[in-house]
């Protein structure tokens, strides 16, 4: 077992790659009551076109990664959720574009819960009947999302920005696509993506790292796995330009919702370069649109935005985009004003004071995140999958200069890369 100490934030990470390829990371947090464990496979909704173990190229129905996540909880002779309940643990799972995570939190019986987590995720059991039954439940989950205007405006923006890359498809699929899911498909996906070598286990909280590592080694040592498959994911080539510049949809809402996205043209960064781009762009967005910016003041005072105006930057190796927006009485006016603001910033450049303030804020917010085992658990794995360390955020932030942000602004703020998504009530239709 190796140890990495992060001096500035006073955190220590214990880690090891097991013989079967599973990467294990342990982050003890002194004085906390609960422990949080997350077992994640690098497999999400975008991985729908790949080669199976036997080399056959297949396309699987949209929404299958999420469906598989649901079905992992059902076993022949027991119900996983009930097992966790018996141990007083609270369990959950989620599927995103590029990963599926299984997790629990507990304040007692960590050993039993960890074994349970490792065992249920490594023991698939799918039947025709249970697959059919799940279609009703997931159907209602999909319908719930269909009624959610914040999700709708976001998904529609991704569809507008991306012509081919599969982040433009719904994570849970549609009622139509999931109707094609069979247990055979589920096993094919499972065998391709759930090998330990494609997975990462993270435990954060109150425990003794030596003992927990031993338990994990013992659990994994007692199981046989075939050699790790070579995973070949097949992605379409994404053209730089957005698919559409504007999409609209109708749902029952109080005020129209408007989200603006800027799609990154150049991708392919990894590790620290990727993290630096991520943090630099987030600083940029905070300087330009943060609640203490002149743009925010102008937009708020003119009534064009409400307090739910928000912005974010998502950055992965293959795709990256910023989004900003919220509720507005006048989406068109909001879009025009934001375009003007962006052009003005490109004219005048980034101010040193604004830059320093944004950096301080970001460091403070990060420190706050470290209070929460959930925050660490949720962020850590994503950082690792991208070749980074969550606890290195502060030094990387500190290395960013005003000039970096200035340069990033000119690269990223390109109006022809922009797309707009609007959701409003049928009655608000112009």
């Amino acid at each position: 077992m190796q140890t990495t100490v992060f001096e500035q934030v006073k955190e220590t990470v214990y880690h090891e790659t097991l013989a079967n390829g599973l990467k294990v990371f342990l982050v003890p947090k002194q004085g906390f009551s609960k422990t949080y464990a997350v077992f994640t496979t690098r497999y999400g909704s975008i991985d729908s076109h790949f080669r199976t173990r036997s080399g056959e190229e297949i396309n699987v129905p949209d929404g299958i990664a999420h469906f598989l996540e649901h079905k992992m909880f059902e076993k022949k002779d027991r119900d996983v959720m009930h097992e966790f309940s018996k141990n007083g643990a609270s369990c959950n799972a989620f599927t995103s574009f590029n990963r599926t995570a299984y997790l629990f939190s507990c304040t007692d019986k960590l050993d039993q819960n960890l074994n349970l987590l490792l065992d249920y995720v490594q023991e698939p059991y799918f039947t025709d009947a249970s697959v059919e039954k799940e279609k009703g439940i997931i159907g209602q989950e999909i319908t719930m999302y269909d009624d959610n205007p914040d999700w709708k405006v976001y998904m529609n923006l991704l569809k507008a920005m991306y012509q081919k890359y599969p982040i433009n498809i719904e994570i849970a699929g549609t009622i139509e696509t999931i109707s094609h899911i069979t247990k055979e498909y589920l096993y094919q996906c499972y065998e391709t993506f759930y090998h330990p070598a494609n997975m990462l286990l993270l435990v954060v909280g109150s425990f003794d790292p030596e003992a927990v590592m031993k338990l994990i080694q013992k659990n994994q040592g007692g199981k046989d796995f075939p050699p790790a498959p070579q995973i070949t994911r097949i992605f379409p080539e994404e053209p730089p330009a957005p698919a559409q510049h504007r999409v609209e949809a109708n749902l029952a809402v109080g005020l129209p919702k408007c989200m603006i996205g800027i799609k990154e043209k150049e991708n392919g960064l990894t590790a620290e370069a990727l993290l630096k781009r991520d943090l630099t762009t987030k600083l940029l967005l905070d300087i330009v649109f943060g609640s203490s910016s002149s743009a925010y003041e102008k937009l708020y005072d003119s009534g064009l935005i409400t307090e739910n105006f928000d912005f974010d930057y998502s950055c992965e190796q293959d795709y990256a985009y910023s989004i900003f927006g919220g509720d507005t009485p006048d989406p068109d006016q909001l879009v025009e004003t934001i375009k003007t603001i962006i052009e003005e910033w490109k004219q005048k450049g980034i101010d040193q004071d604004d830059f320093e303030r944004a950096k301080r804020k970001k460091i403070g917010n990060f420190m706050r995140g470290l209070n929460s085992v959930e925050f660490i658990a949720n962020q850590f794995t994503q950082f690792k999958f991208n070749g980074n360390d969550l606890f290195s955020v502060v030094p990387v932030l500190e290395s960013i200069t005003r000039e970096d942000v200035e340069k990033r602004m000119r690269e990223h703020f390109q109006l022809d890369q922009m797309a707009v998504s609007i959701v409003r009530s049928a009655a608000q239709q112009e």
């Binding site: 009624d147 959610n148 205007p149 109080g254 460091i363």
Partner: protein, 431 residues
């Protein structure tokens, strides 16, 4: 289980007419400061208080421009700051939330905690006021923001359904009010009204201030004494509230909206409140019925009948209301209601398996032990004790989960009555 947890032990004192509660702990890398002002929830003041919260956070005497105020917060290493209103039974709580990094983790910021307390003092004692009124510019803008916030309730269909059933079910009770108030009250409120209201509640209503972090108690007390010099009158007695309500007849309400999924909400009166001896048994009752993935509702509505993605029950502990919620296909309404009622019947008959009871004990215990990892939740837990008039030591509650009997749960079940069945559904199908 069985092992004692570290009690949530705030040290309480009385400073400048406020109850101050401090919890020293090395667990967190930030310091959290929360001020709670308690009021009766009433038609006369609900909107004023909600608006006041929004106007307060725009400016203070020291920072008259919002942009300057926010720049200052950023400068305090991105201090988290908000003023908001929440509902606890028939109380409306105006809450000032502030969180700053602990100075120990920062190279050069030795006065951060004092600056944060000073900022809270600005909010409470040095507002931005001219001629006895909050500035018209901010009042006008925030009225608009609040109106939009009230109108946007409809965006989240689960919240909307919840508010609608509460409104209908508690028609003549203050609890029916949305905590953000009523849009129709907004035009009549002036900057003068708001300032009078501000003075009234900061001089006379109960105020509790909580501090959690790796702090020096004496230093915190001194900073509060210096920077929050409130002029207080005798603290107002608030009207006592009761969860007891005998339901004469179960009622049904259907709303129609442009939605795909129908939301079924069943509002129940438990006739038990936080301060009552039966409260721990009510928590166990709710846990077995619908609090967890092993609960009767989840197992029967979702896992067995495949009718829903979620089927849960939630308690409002101060008013004594239990809300059952599920998202279903409108045409499955009768089947869903029948299954839910059958589960409630089983509870009344005490048809609870040993496994259901032990799972619920274990998961409830876990839930309450997890509080200890969040400053915000420890404050919330302790404040529930303040508002209800009964502090519940955490160990006592955990012990009660272990010793509660099926008979006690049955007794709780007998008190729970369905008051209203509410359905929010699409505009297409038949009624």
């Amino acid at each position: 289980m069985g092992t004692q947890v570290h009690e949530i032990a705030f040290t309480s004192s009385h400073i400048n007419g406020m109850n101050v509660h401090i919890l020293q702990t090395e667990k967190f890398k930030t310091t959290t400061i929360v001020t709670m002002i308690e009021q009766e929830l009433s038609v006369e003041t609900v909107t004023k208080t909600a608006l006041l919260a929004m106007v307060m956070k725009r400016a203070t005497a020291r920072f008259k421009e919002t942009k300057r105020l926010r720049e200052y917060l950023d400068f305090l290493y991105g201090a988290i700051f908000d003023v908001d209103v929440t509902k606890k039974g028939e109380r409306q709580i105006l809450q000032i939330y502030m969180e700053v990094p602990n100075e120990k983790y920062l190279a050069q910021a030795s006065t951060l905690l004092e600056e944060a307390i000073q900022f809270v003092g600005d909010m409470l004692t040095r507002p931005c006021v001219e001629n006895g009124a909050f500035l018209p510019k901010y009042v006008t803008q925030e009225k608009e923001t609040l109106r939009k916030r009230i109108e946007s309730l409809i965006d989240d269909k689960m919240k909307y359904a919840n508010q609608r059933v509460t409104e209908e079910m508690c028609k003549d009770e203050p609890f029916a009010l949305l905590v953000q108030g009523r849009a129709e009250d907004l035009p009549g409120i002036t900057g003068e009204d708001l300032y009078r209201h501000f003075q009234e509640i900061t001089t006379s209503n109960p105020i509790n201030l909580f501090v959690v972090g790796d702090v020096d108690e004496q230093q915190v007390k001194k900073a509060i004494e210096t920077h929050i010099p409130l002029q207080r009158n005798a603290v107002k007695e608030l009207k006592a509230t009761s969860p007891v309500k005998n339901v004469e007849q179960e009622r049904t309400v259907v709303d129609r909206l442009d939605v795909s999924q129908a939301k079924l909400n069943i509002g129940c009166r438990t006739n038990i409140a936080y301060k009552d001896d039966d409260y721990p048994a009510l928590l166990v009752y709710n846990g077995i019925l619908g609090g967890f993935p092993h609960s009767k509702l989840f197992v029967n509505v979702r896992e067995k009948a495949s009718l829903a993605y979620y089927a849960v029950s939630r308690l409002e502990s101060h008013k004594g209301i239990m809300m059952i919620m599920s998202g279903i296909e409108a045409k499955k309404y009768d089947q869903a209601v029948e299954i839910i009622k059958a589960q409630m019947d089983l509870m009344r008959q005490g048809k609870i398996t040993e496994e259901e009871l032990s799972q619920t004990r274990a998961t409830l215990t876990n839930q309450f032990r997890e509080l200890l990892d969040s400053a915000r939740m420890m404050i919330e837990y302790t404040y529930n004790g303040v508002v209800s008039g009964r502090q519940r030591p955490l160990n006592e509650l955990l012990q009660a989960f272990e010793t509660v009997t099926i008979d006690e749960i049955k007794r709780v079940a007998d008190k729970v009555q369905i008051d209203m069945i509410y359905l929010l559904r699409d505009k297409k199908g038949e009624a």
